[in-house]
Amino acid sequence: MSIQEKTASSGFELTRRDWGYLGHFRAMASPCELLMATEDEHLAREMMNVATCEAMRIEQKFSRFIEGNPLWKINHAAGTPSLIDNETASLLQFARQCHQLSDGRFDISAGPLMKLWRFDGSKIPDLADIERARALVNFSKVIFDEHQVQFPDGMSLDFGGIAKEYGVDRVAYLLAEKWSAISVLVNFGGDIACPVSKGAGNAPWQVGIENPQRLDSAAALLEIRQGALATSGDTRRFIEKNGQRFGHIIDPRTGYPVVKAPRSVTVLAPNSVTAGMLATMAMLEGEQAEIFLSEQEVEFKCFR
């Protein structure tokens, strides 16, 4: 088997822009883009191949919706240990650290709870159902090491909260490692990373942040030369009841969506995984979101 990734047969579109090439494809249920500062079309194609391959690989492995994939096997182990590889172990380790740093509010075993809150305009779940689901949410019951993972029957893991940002960082890393002099902006549905600087002499990448009140038109323009950006928000997924809007970030400790969470939070950080986690944690802070982010000394923008 070859060391390098090979040509993907999944489709992508490539269009020429004056600053380089824009590549577009669909993965992880999001529109994915690559902005590549290069004149070389062949190179842009190679980059797109690397990106689509890696995005699909991660999706195939960690998607909740693919029956029989590694995540599905882990979630159907019924309490017995499952063999895992280094990558899965690292993600579990990261999830554990986030669980600790957020005092238990970020919990990837919250799958059963997430399933209850469907945010498709339907009603709020029953208290009894919520209590039942909450009993199955407890990351501290997930035992793992470098080689295997085990948790009680009935619990399930969901990497949805980190997989997309992880994918962005992985693709960004692979591209930067191979083409260290070419600035590429990776954008998977709003989670953005740009590890190779656009260079002081060039115009920075310009990223529009949605205004939750007026969707699909940029309210703020962020200029970014290097770094990562993630947005967490309820702009498109919410339930409205009695004039109260329930955002889609669920607090596993209560079983209910976080109260008084901002409509959207955008955070700037060195990589997408950090930015995404900070944005999620800010949402979990509810009212205190802005205070939390100022204390973290990161650039951010909140919409309420």
């Binding site: 895992i84 990589n271 973290q296």
Partner: protein, 432 residues
């Protein structure tokens, strides 16, 4: 509900993310490469019941240079002691044989298979191989190897090229090797079919020595081998892959075993003399090999079949399988089964008849006669932290030589001319 250590959270996250992304940089690579070095070491004991015993130690080091180059170096040291069958047949009387050096002799009791226990040798072998990825579809490799033991020296060069197709699902490889061997046997190379000089047949030491020297030729002998292999590897599905190889090997030079003899017997099966064997000076071999390997949820399984044929008319079939089962993420057990069957080389004969004209070539070495062998092995492995692994295996190897259709005359019928050889193999390995 406050988040604790508030200002440290972003820093802690940044560190955690580095560990996640740095570590997972190796996530999709085949080999783990902390510091780019990978070391495998093993020590093995091979012991035949009442016969040869050997200890072999191997150290293998791999270093990756970026994503495209790999250096592989190996050092092997092995040491052999004990006795192996000389090719002479068992007799109802005690037999005396002269040692290969001419200095001294050894005896075989009545009814026993004659075993020459002269051999105590240590061999050192070193090899280095460089593999280079030239492009997304082309790979190449080149290597050199050499080995030395007391009476033997070998030097070889090998090279190969690989081309992958079909999104890397199909790989075609062509490789070749050239090896030069030089043998300088203890006591000098024996003259083919000369009769072993026995001290008891001569009055004085000098006369014996002269006779012995007449059966020897000074100087070393060479052997040159040219090998070629064509290989196809094909991904069958997400879990199964398949490989088929065709190998061609052409050997020319000295292939006689200088330490092996044949008994020349009369009508009653009684030995009249011992003749040093003689094998052809060329051999053209073909091999056909197929294997399939499957990734199971909690294990790995593989099956392989090999057929070989050559111009010595020695054909063989080999069936082999390994089945590994992971008891946990850290511990596995593995079963190994191998079945081998070979047909005698056309110049193989268990003994010669006195009075009949000598054939052009003859050897009584049971290793090129009709034979069936069985191997049954068990291995256990433990995966330790940091990517280290330790394993131990125990195997039982039995060789069953068979009579390929020779009439056993006279007293030869009273003896087992094709005794089984039973061996134990024990090995411990460590890799990191």
């Amino acid at each position: 509900m406050q988040l604790k250590n508030r200002s440290n959270i972003s820093k802690a996250l940044a560190i955690a993310s580095c560990s996640l992304l740095g570590h997972s940089a190796q996530a999709s690579a085949n080999t783990e490469k902390p510091d780019d070095w990978k070391v495998d070491a093993a020590i093995m004991y091979y012991g035949e019941e009442d016969r040869v015993q050997a200890v072999e130690a191997i150290g293998n080091v791999q270093k990756a240079f970026g994503d495209e180059s790999l250096l592989d170096m190996k050092l092997v040291v092995d040491s052999l002691t004990g006795a192996s069958a000389s090719g002479a047949v068992a007799q109802s009387e005690t037999q005396t044989f002269t040692r290969p050096s001419g200095n001294g002799q050894y005896e075989t009791a009545s009814g026993e298979t004659p075993l020459d226990d002269t051999f105590q040798d240590t061999r050192v072998q070193a090899s280095a191989n460089w593999a280079e990825t030239l492009s997304p579809v082309w790979k190449t490799n080149v290597g050199v190897n050499g080995s030395k033991e007391f009476d033997y020296f070998s030097l070889g060069l090998n090279g190969g090229v690989e081309r992958s197709f079909n999104k890397d699902n199909t790989t075609l490889a062509l490789s070749g090797a050239y090896t030069f061997d030089s043998i300088d046997p203890v006591g000098g190379r024996p003259v083919a079919f000369s009769s072993m000089a026995l001290r008891a047949d001569y009055d004085t030491e000098e006369e014996y020595r002269t006779a012995f020297d007449m059966t020897r030729m000074a100087g070393s002998e060479d052997k040159k081998t040219m090998d070629m292999m064509l290989s196809v590897t094909q991904v069958l599905s997400r879990r199964w892959l398949f490989q088929a190889n065709y190998g061609l090997s052409s050997v020319s030079g000295y292939m006689t075993d200088p330490y092996k003899i044949l008994s020349q017997v009369n009508d009653t099966g009684t030995t009249q003399s011992y003749l040093y064997e003689n094998r052809p000076d060329s051999r053209l071999k073909h091999s056909f090999y197929m294997m399939t390997k499957g990734a199971l949820d909690a294990g790995v399984i593989d099956f392989s079949y090999r057929y070989t044929t050559d111009d010595w008319d020695l054909n063989s079939h080999t069936l082999e399988t390994h089945y590994r089962y992971y008891f946990s993420g850290r511990f596995y057990g593995q079963v190994h089964l191998r079945y081998y069957q070979q047909q005698a080389a056309n110049f193989y004969r268990p003994f010669l008849m006195a009075g009949e004209p000598l054939p052009e070539y003859a050897s009584a070495d049971y290793r090129i006669g009709d034979m069936t062998t069985y191997t049954l092995g068990l291995k256990f492995g433990q995966r330790l932290s940091g990517g280290h692994e330790m394993s131990y295996r125990l195997e039982y190897y039995q060789q069953n030589p068979e009579n390929s259709g020779f009439d056993l005359v006279g007293q030869l019928q009273d003896h087992d001319l094709f005794p089984e050889v039973k061996a134990i193999i024990a090995q411990v390995s460590y890799s990191f």
